[in-house]
């Protein structure tokens, strides 16, 4: 299964998620055009590719704006980095060994090719001959092995020791320090081929396999004791002089502020078009000014600035639906650290699913999407984002804004306003006051929280902000994660990575299952989704449908909105596309006069 990512919902997009799961390179690829048409807001027709088809000039320079209100941290290694801004910085010089198609599945167009064994349990990867690190050393199979050795290392403190790593044969033994060999990984004689064998066959293989190599010769070898894990994580080789085999190489870094990339003439696909790329951190507040002035050519655009972005003449807006959804979570239990599983409390305040359904019905997400985001967000439906066309079930009827329905449900559940203060009491006549935790950040966070509380108040549910304030991203998740008893409901967001498997977010043993919702049925469906049988896509789709239905009925979380991600590109940019699986890759990007 794949872990989801916490994502900060809000226009600021201060994305400092703890576990982005996948490379940005992958998430940058999107869904097909047809899927966009499925959306209720299909009227917002954004191009995925820039219209400028002019010939790129020689020696062009691109200014990339990294929109973040916090600077990038500069841990430029796929193994060790933690923040999304670092992923953005890495994307220019570091690439995955594989290319991905529009369904986020690996293809053979990348630096390496692969072959899956018949029993689906092992994969053989062959690295192309002309793939060289920036320092000229060839990329070796043992470099990929090194990544696995680091990720599974007993001293590894990062967060990427996930299912797809531990599922490698022999990995648990290695991880526990019982052996220094990973039995499931075999490197060929010529160091160009590597075979990875898994304990369990899983449908996630083609989307979830780790395929980032680590230049062992450059950063130093932990296995031989050349460096320690701690030294490695703090090493200059990762922080200020990292290398990869991508189309550009890092020429200079002003920590936290900007990066200068130069063309990698030795790039395996050929000579990149651009001469250099300058990456600059720009705050969400000033990104539009920077775009307008031409200080930056390319950047994401915070949704709340969409209307202003539209007015800027020298840029073009591209957009696609994001691999993410925002939701309201209902706290239903606790995480049992001993057993390492979620325990649902049948006496939780929101144990009655009718109340949860009512709260979903009460939320006017349509207005938020239309008025606040001008259509760039639209009401969420099921927990599988529409991007995954084969698994998302658009036919399920999900609650939409209907206060009357909500009131009816609440009445039915026995919550009525007995003392006439406009708010409902529970069956025993106790006042029902729910504590709502929500994140700060972005200009819209506060009004949205207020808006939902009003929505709920309209149907008679008294909701107040936890501690009377919005909580900062980290402390918010700390509290949610710790099952702070003060929290009844919370607003969160998940970035779902490229593998739609929801086990990591909703399974009985998933720590990220913050609502602590569990049920037999859920266990059964999730097991089926990630089980061997699911190698059959139709079977898997069926189970996905069942699961989505279950979730809509049980409402451990109520999805609020799906979203578009906006990208602004200067009109001089050519050969640029945000289309998933596009043929226009970074090395081909160019600028015209």
């Amino acid at each position: 299964a794949c872990t989801g990512k916490d994502e900060k919902d809000g226009a600021g997009e201060k994305d400092t998620s703890k576990d982005p799961g996948k490379d940005t390179e992958q998430t940058e690829d999107g869904e097909d055009a047809e899927e966009v048409e499925e959306d209720p807001n299909a009227g917002l027709d954004f191009p995925l590719t820039v219209t400028n088809t002019g010939d790129p000039i020689e020696g062009g320079e691109l200014n990339f704006g990294l929109v973040s209100d916090t600077p990038f941290e500069g841990t430029l290694s796929p193994v060790f980095y933690s923040g999304a801004p670092d992923a953005d910085v890495m994307s220019f010089f570091n690439e995955s060994l594989f290319a991905y198609d529009g369904d986020y599945l690996i293809t053979n167009d990348g630096a390496a090719t692969y072959e899956v064994s018949d029993d689906n349990k092992s994969i053989t990867i062959k690295i192309g001959d002309n793939v060289n690190w920036h320092d000229g050393e060839p990329v070796k199979a043992s470099d990929l092995l090194y990544s696995y050795q680091l990720l599974g290392h007993p001293d590894y403190t990062g967060t990427r020791y996930t299912f797809m790593i531990s599922n490698v044969e022999g990995m648990p033994a290695y991880h526990n320090g019982e052996t220094t060999e990973i039995s499931g990984i075999e490197v060929s004689e010529d160091d160009k081929t590597i075979t990875i064998t898994y304990t369990e066959a899983t449908p996630s293989l083609l989307s979830g396999i780790w395929a980032n190599a680590t230049p062992r010769h450059h950063v130093g070898d932990v296995m031989t004791g050349e460096v320690t894990m701690e030294e490695l994580a703090a090493s200059e080789k990762i922080r200020t002089s990292p290398i990869g085999f991508g189309p550009f190489k890092v020429a200079k870094i002003v920590p936290g502020e900007s990066v200068l990339y130069e063309r990698n003439d030795d790039y395996w696909r050929g000579k990149p078009q651009l001469d250099s790329i300058v990456l600059k951190v720009v705050s969400s507040a000033s990104v539009l000014e920077a775009l307008k002035k031409g200080d930056i050519d390319l950047s994401s655009v915070p949704v709340d600035q969409y209307l202003n972005a539209k007015e800027i003449d020298n840029i073009e807006l591209l957009a696609k639906v994001d691999l993410a959804y925002t939701y309201i979570g209902f706290k239903l239990g606790k995480w049992d650290a001993e057993k390492k599983e979620n325990i649902t409390d049948p006496n939780a305040r929101l144990a009655d699913k009718r109340v949860r359904q009512a709260m979903w019905y009460a939320m006017d997400n349509e207005t938020i999407g239309k008025e606040l985001y001008h259509g760039l967000r639209f009401p969420g439906t099921t927990l599988i984002v529409p991007v995954f066309a084969s698994f998302h079930d658009a036919s399920i009827e999900t609650p939409t804004y209907d206060p009357e329905k909500a009131k009816a449900l609440l009445d039915e559940a026995g919550f009525v306003d007995v003392d006439g203060d406009g708010f409902r009491e529970d069956a025993d006549g106790n006042e029902l006051v729910l504590n709502f935790a929500s994140m700060s950040g972005g200009e819209t966070a506060e009004p949205i929280a207020q808006f939902y509380m009003q929505n709920w108040a309209d149907v008679g549910i008294k909701v107040q902000l936890l501690d009377g304030r919005l909580h900062e991203f980290n402390s918010f998740y700390d509290q949610v994660e710790a099952d702070d008893p003060k929290i009844d409901i919370y607003q969160g967001a998940w970035g779902v990575g490229s593998d739609p498997d929801p086990s990591g977010l909703y399974g009985r043993t998933a720590a990220f299952n913050y609502t602590r919702y569990t049920s037999e049925k859920n266990d059964e469906l999730l097991a089926a989704i990630s089980g061997e049988q699911s190698l059959d896509t139709d079977f898997r789709a069926g189970k996905f449908k069942e699961w989505q239905e279950l979730m809509v009925d049980e409402v451990p979380v109520a999805p609020t909105v799906f979203r578009y991600a906006l990208t602004a590109a200067n009109k001089r940019l050519t050969n640029y596309s945000i289309e998933p699986g596009t043929d226009l890759r970074l090395w081909q990007w160019g600028v015209t006069e």
């Binding site: 400092t16 703890k18 576990d19 916090t70 600077p71 941290e73 500069g74 841990t75 060790f80 933690s82 923040g83 403190t157 990062g158 967060t159 020791y161 994580a233 703090a234 922080r239 200079k252 002003v254 920590p255 936290g256 502020e257 900007s258 990066v259 200068l260 300058v278 600059k280 951190v281 720009v282 705050s283 000033s286 000014e289 920077a290 002035k293 200080d295 995480w335 650290a337 001993e338 390492k340 900062e472 991203f473 980290n474 402390s475 700390d478 994660e481 720590a511 990220f512």
Partner: protein, 322 residues
Amino acid sequence: MLKFILRRTLLMIPQLILLSLIIFMLAKAMPGDAVTGAFMGNPDATPEQIEKIREKFGLNDPWYQQYGRWIGKAVKGDFGQSYTHQQPVTTLIAGRVENTVLLSLFTAIMIYLMAIPLGIIAGRWTDTWADKMIVTYNYFAFATPLFVFALLMLFLFSFVLGWFPIGGTVDIRIETGTWDYVVSRAKHLFLPVMSAALIGTYATIQYLRNDIIDQKIKDYVKTARAKGVPEGKVYTRHILRNSLLPIAAFLGYEITGLIGGSIFIESIFSYQGLGQLFLQSINLRDFTVVTALVMIFGTATIVGTLLSDIILSIVDPRIRIE
């Protein structure tokens, strides 16, 4: 005199110890410790495992032992590991300290460059139009919150006029060490420095003006006039020396002010310095960094006041004899 300096320097030691104790307590009060850092977002960690690591880090020892270890390391420049940045706090800070030092230094210089002449003019020619203008400016400097002023400066000069870059400390394309590099740094520094300085002159001007007015009527000034000292010299030789003296004593407290200011300035101008780092770390609850920064800034002010006292003891003969 040397003895005074030595004594004053030694006096700094208990101050530093007290500071570190307070900060240590604060750090203890902050949620999270070294272990939380290591296990952030790793839901697989079992309580036993965490307990084992706590033991290993000595987090179960009595507080004074922990404090001893912490301070022992801090003295050597080891403030532990930042868990959002996954690197030693010292490295993290080292990368930015230059920026903040530059910013504060130039701000202080600008403040004195502007405030001293203005204060002198206003104090010497009281109630003239020049004085009235200076006083009015000063009232505005007092009344305008730094952040409002900085925002407006940024908007006007960077966004509208485009004279200065929107943020950052240097243009990355320029070769380090060249003249252009210096120019680029200066260009990036100019707005933050000017914003802080134009507002920061308040205390100095106000003080200087009042003090000159006070000194003007002192007997020793009458003595000087009675000696036939020309008016200009009365100021340069007598009044100003006496009035400017305490400005040296302000230096230490000025540093406290500049640190406060740098938090606003760096945040508004996206200037990569310690102030911004502090805000970010607080926001990310990266308390090892926060602790280290508070310690560093506290030490800076303590050293600043030490400097003031020493400067004062050198220039003021009344203190010199001790």
